[in-house]
């Protein structure tokens, strides 16, 4: 089983990396880019096949380690 986790900055938290990327894209002439947010993508390969149990465990991993609740939110996709 695979878990795909998206970790992104909460709205309201300044994203300097995103801003820098937006600036670079504008310099390159991509004026259609209104804004950029940058996040992390974490893919886990999991043993076992109980999807619901996995969801609980992965949620725990996210809350404890993979994201920082002060600045980040996350979403989980299992497949």
């Amino acid at each position: 089983m695979k878990a795909k986790i998206h970790v992104y900055l909460k709205p309201g938290v300044l994203d300097p990396q995103g801003a820098a990327v937006a600036g670079a894209l504008h310099n390159m002439g991509y004026d259609e880019v209104a804004s950029v947010r940058q996040g992390k993508l974490i893919e886990l390969d999991l043993t076992g096949d109980d999807v619901e149990a996995a969801r609980v465990r992965v949620d725990e991993m996210c809350a404890k380690l993979l994201s920082n609740p002060v600045i980040e939110s996350y979403s989980i996709e299992l497949e």
């Binding site: 938290v13 990396q17 993979l66 002060v70």
Partner: protein, 220 residues
Amino acid sequence: MKSAVIVFPGSNCDRDAHDAIQGVTGTAPAMVWHQETALPEGTQFVMIPGGFSYGDYLRCGAMASHSAIMPAIIAHAATGAPILGVCNGFQILTECGLLPGALMRNAQLKFICEETPITVANTNTRFTSRYTPNAKLMIPIAHHDGNYFADTETLIRIENEGQVVFRYGANPNGSANDIAGLVNEQGNVLGMMPHPERAVDAKHGGTDGLALFESLLGSA
């Protein structure tokens, strides 16, 4: 004063911390490996040094804050004992919840190593009692992720409580309210990005960090 320096895989200011503490207190600190589950008997002061614990690959300090030694450090903090986290140590203290907020990538996205002017915003702590109020210090910084963030509510609270202990003179990294270092509510846990242990020797980076260790010694 009996002290301990915590060593994680990837710590790299552990020797600097050891030497600074030994120089000021006259006693070598115990070097405590992250897989230990208890601090040495009688430990008073604990320092979490700078470096790149676990490569800082996920978020700075995130993985270290889950290592075996952390529960002992959190329990030690609860007894009111002094704990100092510098640079990566500061990041670890915010990640494990002993200090509020988070340290994000520097606003200009680059690693910065420079001597930085900072001012002492609060001398009424056991880490800063030997400084004069508003003293201006030069202490080196060396980090990629020192941009202090906390939500507005938290910022107001820590400002009102006088928890901000050091402020940058010329904000090098985008930190909220120019915060370079802060203590917890009880005042016994200090996290700071500048490296006081690199400022205890005139040959190396000046001596403006000495009084921090002397304050601690005086308070023990």
